[in-house]
């Protein structure tokens, strides 16, 4: 199945870096959003988006709130979500786990880590988790 990514980050620089990294990993289909609210609008409007990569700290609606909104939605509740954030303290990670994030990457990341986490999420989804 071809992946269509939604990259959510208030930093334009970070969105470009994530997109460039994904392009180098061989992915081609991307949509961008600058905050959680924008992401929800784009997810509702485009049902072909099947993977979300989101930052945590964003104005209007944070990444954590975005995950909660996705999980509570009947249609997009199972969409895989990878959190990419500077927040690396245990309490934050546990909070993200409670919100049912699929995996978690601490910035600054390397493309290798990004590939590893995407593969892990896809493998877990393929395993029926």
């Amino acid at each position: 199945m071809a992946l269509k990514f939604l990259i959510v980050d208030d930093s334009q620089t970070m969105r470009r870096i994530v997109v460039n990294s994904l392009k180098n990993l061989g992915y081609e289909d991307f949509v961008e959003a600058s905050d959680g609210k924008d992401a929800l609008l784009k997810l509702s409007a485009d049902e072909t988006i099947n993977f979300v990569i989101t930052d945590w700290n964003m104005p209007v609606l944070s990444g954590l709130e975005l995950i909660k909104a996705i999980r509570s939605d009947a249609k997009m509740g199972n969409t895989p979500v990878l959190m990419v954030t500077t927040r690396g303290v245990k309490d934050d990670i546990i909070e993200a786990l409670k919100a049912k994030v699929n995996n978690y990457v601490v910035k600054p990341f390397t493309p290798a880590i990004l590939r590893e986490k995407i593969d892990q999420i896809l493998a877990a989804a393929g395993g029926g988790n």
Binding site: S11, M14, R16, V60, T86, G88, I94
Partner: protein
């Protein structure tokens, strides 16, 4: 007529009064010194107030300058990313062209080798092999392709390193937030002191709804990611949420 008892009481009261006056006499120089001290202190306090007011008025300039640094670095980072994209695209084109040339070199080699049986001459194979070893560019092209691959990798690493811009922007936003808090406190102090408002003419122009991680750090250490992975591994081993909470509480 006053009784003797009443007279005694009167004298006692007069004695008490005398003691008060004598205490007052001792107190007067102290009160005088206090007055002198106050006279000297008030201008000092006014100076302090003036300094605080001037410093507070400068804070918005500092925060706005920090904000402009963030904007400038974001612009510069975008320009660098644009250049890296151009560089990457050029390298991809060069790589593609070199691969085409390499294929043609192989074709040429195969063609020349296919001539050997047709030439039907002694040492034809040796002659063609010698010609190819002296004139083939395949080996050099292979080396150049490795170099191009390394350059592509380096340019991608430059782009990845530019994550520093996002992280420093969050650090600067944290500093701005702290400065803003200090300014609010100082302004309140000035307002209490002489009923003047500092904020009226010196607005801080920070973006609305700024969101940042106060602990953001740029570190290439793999330890933070390992900690995350350790928590997620425990989750994948079917540890219950309560167990995870207990472990890290």
């Amino acid at each position: 007529m006053m009784s003797e008892e009443n007279m005694t009481q009167l004298f006692e009261k007069l004695n008490d009064l005398k003691k008060v006056f004598s205490y007052g006499e001792k107190l007067i120089p102290v009160i005088h010194s206090l007055g002198e001290f106050m006279k000297e202190t008030v201008p000092l306090l006014e100076n302090i107030n003036q300094s605080i007011a001037e410093s507070t008025a400068k804070i918005p300039k500092a925060t706005n300058q920090i904000q402009s640094v963030t904007s400038a670095t974001e612009m510069a980072t975008t320009e660098i990313l644009d250049l890296v994209d151009v560089l990457n695209n050029d390298l991809i084109n060069i790589e593609k062209t070199m691969l085409d040339v390499l294929v043609k070199e192989k074709d040429k080699e195969d063609f020349l080798k296919s001539l050997i049986p047709m030439l039907n001459k002694e040492n034809a194979e040796l002659f063609i092999d010698d010609f190819l070893s002296k004139n083939s560019s395949a080996e050099k092209l292979g080396e150049l392709l490795l170099q191009v691959g390394k350059m592509k990798n380096d340019s991608n690493n430059i782009a990845v390193s530019l994550q520093v811009q996002d992280i420093t922007a969050q650090q600067l936003a944290t500093v701005n937030h702290l400065i803003e808090s200090v300014q609010e406190k100082l302004s309140a102090l000035i307002e209490d002191f002489d009923n003047t408002k500092i904020l009226d003419n010196h607005e801080i122009n920070l973006p609305d709804n700024a969101s940042f991680d106060p602990n953001a750090r740029y570190s290439k250490s793999s330890v933070p990611q390992q900690e995350v992975d350790s928590i997620f591994n425990q989750k994948s081993q079917k540890a219950s949420q309560a167990e995870i909470d207990k472990l890290f509480s």
